[in-house]
Symmetry: C2
């Protein structure tokens, strides 16, 4: 059987200090079996999102090295930013890509969570497919009230961590480790500074208040630019296509005479999600991914690798 | 230096007989160094378009095998179809992809053209970058009047072939061999059976009558379906983006109350062309190709191959 391939997208609570960002990312560079595909620091969110693809073993080794740096250099007591967070290493999801099942990624997540606590002393919550308690499938439940609330409430039995003592790490908080499907982080920037409006539209589009079933979203201010943002995670892009999210938001914003100024894909996206939306806008029919030169070449290289 | 990689897209005048199509394509299967990425037969066009990617040597060997089949089994005297053609093997373009310059593809084209004539007796015209006469850069000039006219006019000095005696092959006609940039074959199907209207719109969008500079196009009937088609080649997709072509045609068709029913990409397309158009429709900003999971993986595999 071919090598199992996973994606891993650790999120760190640091988006402003370049030297800390580089120190966190460094363990992912030049490491056989672990490819650093992307890393993006956002000043408004004060958050770093890293995209890794590779084999489980090398990815876990690199994650531990990187986590030690983040735990040492990030202090949640001094951290401010637009994105909800509970820890220096805020979330670590394991995502099956090829030749590996979701169940295997659940095992990886739980093994890694235990090692992570042992080596850093940061308590761990398991989420989504790796959750040990049904209510903790939802990251929002684990992150409720963020670091500031969790440091008090962690001693309550319903908020005890899945791994570790029921007390927060004084500077590095807690960490959520999970297994999940490929997630697309997608932002729509609105031509208004009215934060209430962005929140209203986020509420309309997200599943928790009756919108699209696989969309999570919040409204944020982009203060530097006088804009607002509907910041979303699309947790099943096959069921909630990007174009449908864009056109849904366009429709809602139109009610207030507000335009979509731009959209952003944050981190990685599978080609299928892009082709799906392009087909909608351009009326493409009968189009197959293998018509894309690079995708056909990737398939050919894959064949050579197997033979 | 890494292996040179070219694309080659031979077009054959056969889109209806499955057993002939398969015999033409067979030499491209299971051949090291020559990957068959796509092949599409169109009944209306009565034409087969094959997309190959690989190293120049193996591709040329496979082309010769395939050409012998096409020359033996296609008779232009009995061929009818919506697409202009002069030969059984109608055109063979060589396209630089990686680690090879356009000048090298010109050399390949000319070498191949000479060998092709020697082994099949089919006269050859060189076109685009491989043209020996400036007016023959344009394939339309070489194909003017198609097989039926060329078989008479080939004896005129201005229509003499570049390789071979000035007489047509009685059944296989003549062949155009060239070197060019990556070309996107793109069709827009209109919700009307009015062929004159499709021709009018093709005229508006193509460069030869003042439209977009890198678009060639003709109007065709899709008789089976009661539709018409603007059938185009986009010869520089970086300068004439797909979305601009679609919206241009939409604008023209709107004048007559005619909708775009669907669009088709025929054969291969580079990812950049798709991302470009998607960015337009979805207001994407700051998006980089390496955010596409498969493109990032292809880069990583490329690195491993080189090391």
């Amino acid at each position: 059987m071919a090598n199992p391939l996973i994606e891993c997208v650790p999120n760190y609570s640091e988006g402003r200090r370049p030297e800390v960002i580089e120190a966190i990312v460094e363990p992912f560079r030049h490491r056989p079996g672990c490819a650093l595909l992307d890393h993006r620091a956002d000043k408004d969110h004060n958050r770093l999102v890293v995209s890794l693809v590779g084999r489980p073993g090398p990815i876990q080794e690199a994650l531990m090295e990187s986590a030690r740096v983040a735990v040492a250099r990030i202090n949640l007591e001094h951290h401010q930013g637009g994105h909800p967070r509970i820890g220096a290493v805020d979330v670590i999801p394991f995502i099956p890509l090829r030749n590996i099942a979701m169940g295997d990624c659940v095992v990886l997540a739980r093994q890694f969570g235990m090692r992570f606590y042992e080596e850093t002393g940061v308590p761990v919550y398991f989420y989504e497919e790796a959750a040990l308690k049904p209510e903790r499938r939802a990251l929002e439940v684990i992150r409720k009230g963020q670091f500031e609330t969790l440091k008090v409430e962690i001693s309550r039995p319903d908020r005890h961590p899945d791994v570790g003592e029921p007390r927060i790490h004084p500077t590095a908080g807690a960490t959520a480790v999970g297994a999940r499907k490929f997630l697309i982080a997608f932002n729509v920037n609105l031509g208004t500074s009215d934060l209430e409006l962005a929140k209203k539209i986020a509420k309309a589009v997200r599943s928790s208040s009756g919108g699209l079933c696989y969309v999570k979203g919040i409204g944020l201010a982009l203060q530097d630019r006088g804009l607002t943002q509907v910041s979303m995670n699309i947790v099943d892009y096959e069921k909630n296509a990007l174009y449908r999210v864009v056109e849904f938001i366009r429709m809602e914003a139109k009610r207030w005479g507000v335009p979509i100024v731009e959209t952003e894909v944050y981190g990685m996206i599978p080609a299928a999600a892009l082709l799906d939306s392009l087909s909608y806008y351009m009326h493409l029919t009968g189009f197959e991914p293998k018509q894309v030169l690079e995708l056909a070449l990737l398939d050919e290289l894959g064949k050579e690798e197997r033979s």
